[in-house]
Amino acid sequence: MAASANGQVYRVIGTRPIRHDGVDKVTGRAKYGADYNFPGMLYGKVLRSPYAHANIKSIKVDKAAALPGVKAIITSDDLPALSDKMEQTGEQAVNLSQLSANILARGKVLYDGHAIAVVAATSPHVAEEALRLIEVDYEVLPPVMSVEDAMKPGAAILLPGLRNKEEGPDKQTNVATHIQFKRGDLDEGFKAADHVVEREFKTAMVHQGYIEPHNAVGIYNADGHATIYCSTQGSFAVRSLTASVLGMPEGNIKVVPAEIGGGFGGKLTIYLEPLAVLLSKTTGHPVKLTMTRAEVLRASGPTSGSTVRCKLGCTKDGKLVAAQVWMAYEAGAFPGSPVGAGAMTIVAPYNIPNLLIDAYDVVVNRPKTAAYRAPGASNAAMASETVIDELADKCGLDPCDFRIMNGAKEGTAQTAGPPYRRIGFIETVEAIKNSPHYKSKLEGPNRGRGVASGFWFNVGLQSSAIVNLHTDGTASLVIGSVDIGGTRAAQAMIAAEVLGLDANDVRPLVTDTDSIGHTDVTGGSRTCFATGWAVYEAAQDAVRQLKERAARLWEKKPEEVAFSNGQFTAQGDGVKPMTVKDLAGRLARTGGPISGRATVNARGVGPAFASTLVDVEVDPDTGKVTILRATVAQDAGKAIHPSYVEGQMQGGTAQGIGWALNEEYFYDDRGILRNTGLLDYRMPTCLDLPLIETSIVEVPTPGHPLGIRGVGEVSIVPPPAAVANAIAHAVGVRMTELPMSPPRLLKAMLSKRGGSEAQAAAAGR
């Protein structure tokens, strides 16, 4: 039995059963998207732009089409023209015209790797050969690679039709949106400050780094229906987006989600799926497309690089009084960076009475960005949490105490205005402060310790669930949420808890879009919260039906039957308590099969906070940073399967450390990506990291039947700033640019030591 913070005692929830999909995954039987093969299947390959910015004057496919084995070639001329405005497609607000133009370029290529044409052939090799025979005539344009360059007067314009409200309808621009948040009196706030720290930060564009590349198999039937097998975080999103791009009725598409080898936000949108369907429609054969690693890095959706200027002021006793932020995020080729989220998260953990935040979404000649774990929040926290650390130092305060003193709690106004409900930010800082790690001594030269915190909203959205009871008293659980990070196990545990079964008595099944009610993406840290809620209600529905069956057997009214601790009981003589298993064998004689069902449009989502503690050692000769020890504390509301909550906390921390120290998209002067493989795009491996220690905080989300908060994202927010703060305490250098790679850190250390400019320049890029 496990007790929760809200006093509820659980039998299954809070335990650590072996995951239901474990055997298939460790034996290689689990089927991923690229594992799907069908008779007569063709193979697709995509022709991609060798230029970062160019007009397409013509595309000639005659020679490629004549190559034996080539069955079809498609360009954007074969896709329908779509509306150039934001539309609600499924759960996503999408500009369909831009989505389509990202899938196949229309008249213009906007980044190195932008898709231009796609070939279906009898083998991947023939398809690749055909790509070499497609002739594209380009008019090369100057690439615009940074937000600073894109915002300069006279900058080359990426999207001729792009306008923003402030510059007006006649002004071409690369600035898609300006968002502003304002509260209190900024001037008065800074006047009241005894300490003010202002710095400018830059963060590099980074990729989610999921190991499994994008893939899709499309099968178009003569009756106008299509089936897609693919790796995605949201089968219903793939269905609605593909239907929109192809102009097909949504109900004519079935999406079968394969097992997924990582997504982290990068598999919420579509790239290959409509191409697979359209090629299948054209050829009459199933068509499979898979990206190479280079294609993933060049042409899927990394997250934004950014420039953030952050100015914070506090009184001498450490009370934050004012914040001013200017931030611009790279959207990539089309609008839609997470700068709005960056603006709303940057000082979200704190109660600051006076603030002004200006945020700009800027198009540049890089891939259209996609979501990445708490999108926009890590960039922002790198700035604010570094400045917070400096302010704590200036006040002579412990960094945890500074955060606790200024920490947001229930009733504190969020950046955008609405007050927080019950949240657990301060509890995460207290967990760090009380951790064995924080209480340990860190000794030795060039070693330092850093703390940082982070916030993420989490989302609710729609989910569906079905619980089918079997005659042996076990159950199957049908959900539409793709399993990332232990979804099946956690959902089965919730059903088992309600039904009084063991976790292994419930078999979870992730199904296709025809077989379950609408279910939004596995993303936004919503799955355990919202799908978990649907599963809870579906299991309760099954219990309600079981009560009716028990009542029939006992000749009672259903409301006279009670259910607790896995047993049905009723008052009166001759009533022998029964379990679900007892009743399950008698379903046929008491009314037939039982399926519990539920759908939710989940409200009352509980936001997430995390705090991270890092010890580092810096090599004074090379600038290489070694992570000696790391601890993360995170509010999970209620941890259903603690191992998978810890896994999310550790995974986000590992990604955040990679973002901090090594990862970056490295483009040359022509805007060509130079690190298109994982040897050069340097993600941390297990050899680079210590075991990341975890502390699960449980402050239940009010209103949720189990108190769950999403846990999938927020742990990636604090690490870059925590590492930067640790480096500052190790070697006295405040780093303001990510990644804090050896050459960049060495350059900063040499500058501090008074080394010659030539030495510093030689060390840094």
Partner: protein
């Protein structure tokens, strides 16, 4: 009447006011009343008869799911925010 907190960039339509009062039992009716008081604001909030996909609505601290049909209480506090997605 409900209190509506006006986003910074729409305050030019409300003469600089950051908080205004409006009546209506749903977000749609509330926006109708706002439009009567501050012409042009409806276009900033609505698209094809519903709340713009790029905008989220918070009513009494809770994110709404009903768009223009989202219920509003007599003393509710309403915020219009940028819509967000997660990863």
């Amino acid at each position: 009447m409900a209190t509506i907190v006006i986003p910074a960039q729409l305050r030019k339509l409300t003469g600089g006011l950051d908080r205004v009062k409006a009546s209506g039992r749903t977000i749609g009716r509330l926006i109708d009343d706002l439009e009567r008081q501050f012409p042009g604001i409806g276009d900033q909030l609505l698209q094809d008869g519903d709340v713009k996909p790029s905008i989220a609505v918070s009513v009494d601290g809770e994110m709404g799911t009903g768009g223009v049909l989202e219920p509003v209480g007599e003393d509710s506090e309403v915020f219009f925010l940028p819509a967000l997605g997660g990863g």
